[in-house]
Symmetry: none
Subunit: 411 residues, 2 copies
């Protein structure tokens, strides 16, 4: 029996509520040898008090040593092993800019590039043109009209854009199409080659669109050509409410996280602004309507990516003060505090380090975890915790168990 | 290579002896915040001294968050992943009452129920009639005679009974048959419907038996009808001695545990009485004849199920005094102390919490685990142990390794 079949077989209705508080890129590293991490350095009296009553551990998002992208990292938190539940890069790209992807759409990533007079690629990233440059080009590409489809083109960042093609009603597109990016310079781009018979008509449409686009772009060096990569459709995953028996809501301010939550069938709650206080308000406003809340905090990751140790610690302190007590006020039955991955400011990027994680419920057996200065929520305390080093995909089953939402397995 | 193939390939003969001491439902929870669990509260000088010389950890019986039934939980301790090695509920029911199930038998669970004058189920549990009531009905059902089969009917508890049908020599019965329990009231029972062609003749026999049984029961409200569920045969698992290369004996007083041990091919040792002292005597009497002893203590679980914290702690103390030293006197090469699952008295039921586990051998690297009062065998100490949080199915391979019973893998 697969793990999802197990969950489907065992889950039972209950009145209990689960909050999954995700501080993006929570895990960190010390600035100097023997130093503290961002989370350990932050003054977090509320997290620390909760840690003393909780179980701690370190969550592995994908596999040990593997640094996750945001999409797979969140799928893992939602209980979907990202190596089994593979989302095409085109789809992640569209979700990342908040595109309202439909099941019949084919999405791809686009890169502007530079070609010479013979059509050989000389720069696969068009000299890393600024986003403003792309913002001028993309409207031109939107004017391309092709029979039988609608093509949406959206700016992503710098030389990157997203393209989504949508068939007319009743038609079907297929996405098993090879990248056109040759992955090296001095050679021409590849055609969008169908990798199965069903995808051939779609590949022809894509190639027509590419030809029209290149005709337009040749007047706009260094972005005088383009390549498309990662053709994909909505993978049609099993839906979270059906697998886990939870009416699930996502509270997030960035498109990517709303997109992944939508992909697994969560409702996306409206949030009035960008601040965590706005997210707390959304949580309070919809508390009675859902069993499970994914609550996403973005700015820990942004600060880590910027290499700003102090700002990352400050974001954590703000969550400790402005978010955690407001969640506890609602008296949830299970609260998990974690990150989707680590983003140590020392690395200025996502990393492979397992993620400090805290699980509280009235039925958990507290570790009584103590750091050097008493109970503490931090990487080292979590490394000694009774959850051990565990796959992040275990969080949902653990939450369901502690929420008394799973039947006994076997007699 | 599967885990079982690995064990088959590697195991070698040896003179070493392994004892697997299983305190049923060992894991617990504190009565109050900041309190100790049953195991932590119990005074266990012998377990604590052994813990100081052992490795500790927390065993996950099925999957994180999942509460096990006794059958799957024991299979896991015996090294059989219960999601792969699935035992039908009818078989577990027959094993649970000590029925001597044969490979060709089909077993099912039975529930007495109440139906109205139109045959619609009004109470799926016949008003939860007492066991004494069932003890009067079951002999009546034993009088039903059907051509080609023998039907055994046995009281289980309250409204529950077990039925086993056995074919005449040379005949084969098949168990892929749907439950007759409609799972709701106000509707009629379902027929025993064959789910494959091979099961059709068996389903017809079952339906004939049900019709005859209902004819008898209609005079005995509220148990004026019945339903059958969980049709199953002995799953024919690979046998423990062949997989692990161990001559294996089970010492248990309750039918369920003897039944599961028998299912995997262990010998069941005779035990003179219900007391752990009787079990110790059986261990001493057969020490020279076996390599592996499964030693089961039931009363920890019973006390937990009754919600009796103090009694559960007392049972643990009694095992510490009356069982552990007697085992150590025999000088085993490997001793594992664990439970099949947790049964916190605070929950009065099995739970999903991982199980405190101790592994001792002269080749283990002791954790030197220390609790607040020195070395300790307890949930929190195990949560800090070097075995980590691990699948219970690892216990047998770990035992074999420490017993010097596995060849090197590869050169």
């Amino acid at each position: 029996m697969s793990d999802f079949e197990l969950m489907r077989t065992l889950h039972i209705p209950a009145q209990t509520k689960i909050v999954h508080l995700v501080l993006d890129g929570l895990g960190g590293l010390p600035r100097e040898l023997d130093g503290k991490t961002e989370l350990e350095a932050a003054s977090t009296p509320n997290f620390d008090a909760l840690a003393a009553r909780s179980q701690l551990g370190l969550a592995v998002p994908i596999r040990p040593g593997v640094t996750p992208g945001s999409g797979p990292a969140h799928l893992s938190l939602f209980g979907y092993d990202p190596l089994t539940y593979d989302v095409g890069r085109g789809v992640l790209s569209a979700l990342g800019i908040g595109f309202d992807l439909q099941p019949e759409d084919v999405a791809a990533r686009g890169n502007f590039c530079t070609v010479d007079e013979n059509g050989l690629v000389t720069d696969r990233r068009a000299g890393r043109i600024p986003t403003e440059f792309s913002q001028k080009l993309v409207p031109l590409l939107r004017q391309i009209e092709l029979p039988g489809i609608q093509a949406f083109v959206e700016v992503v960042k710098e030389y990157r854009f997203a393209i989504v093609i949508r068939p007319m009603a009743g038609q079907t597109l297929h996405a098993n199409i090879a990248d056109t990016d040759p992955q090296q310079t001095g050679v021409p781009s590849l055609p969008a080659r169908a990798l199965d018979t069903a995808s051939e008509p779609t590949a022809r449409l894509v190639n027509d669109w590419i030809a029209a686009a290149r005709e337009i772009l040749k007047e706009h060096p260094p972005a005088n050509s383009l390549n498309l990569r990662g053709f994909a459709k909505d993978p049609g995953f099993p839906k979270f409410p059906e697998v886990f028996g939870l009416k699930a809501a996502a509270i997030a301010t960035y498109p990517m996280y709303k997109g992944v939550a939508k992909l697994v069938g969560m409702d996306i709650l409206p949030v009035a602004g960008e601040a965590v206080e706005d997210e707390v308000e959304a949580l309070h406003a919809h508390w009675d309507q859902y069993d499970y809340f994914f609550f996403h905090v973005k700015k820990t990751d942004s600060a880590g990516e910027d290499g700003d140790f102090v700002r990352k610690a400050q974001v954590i302190e703000h969550v400790d003060e402005a978010v955690l007590p407001a969640i506890l006020d609602l008296d949830p039955d299970v609260l998990i505090v974690t990150g989707d991955h680590s983003t140590p400011s020392a690395l200025k990027s996502h990393s492979w380090h397992p993620v400090p994680t805290l699980l509280w419920s009235r039925y958990c057996l507290p570790d009584g975890a103590t750091g050097p200065g008493g109970a503490e929520f931090g990487e080292r305390a979590c490394g000694r915790g009774s959850l051990g080093v565990f796959p992040a995909t275990d969080e949902l089953p653990l939450a369901l168990g502690h929420a008394l939402r799973l039947n006994k397995y076997g007699a």
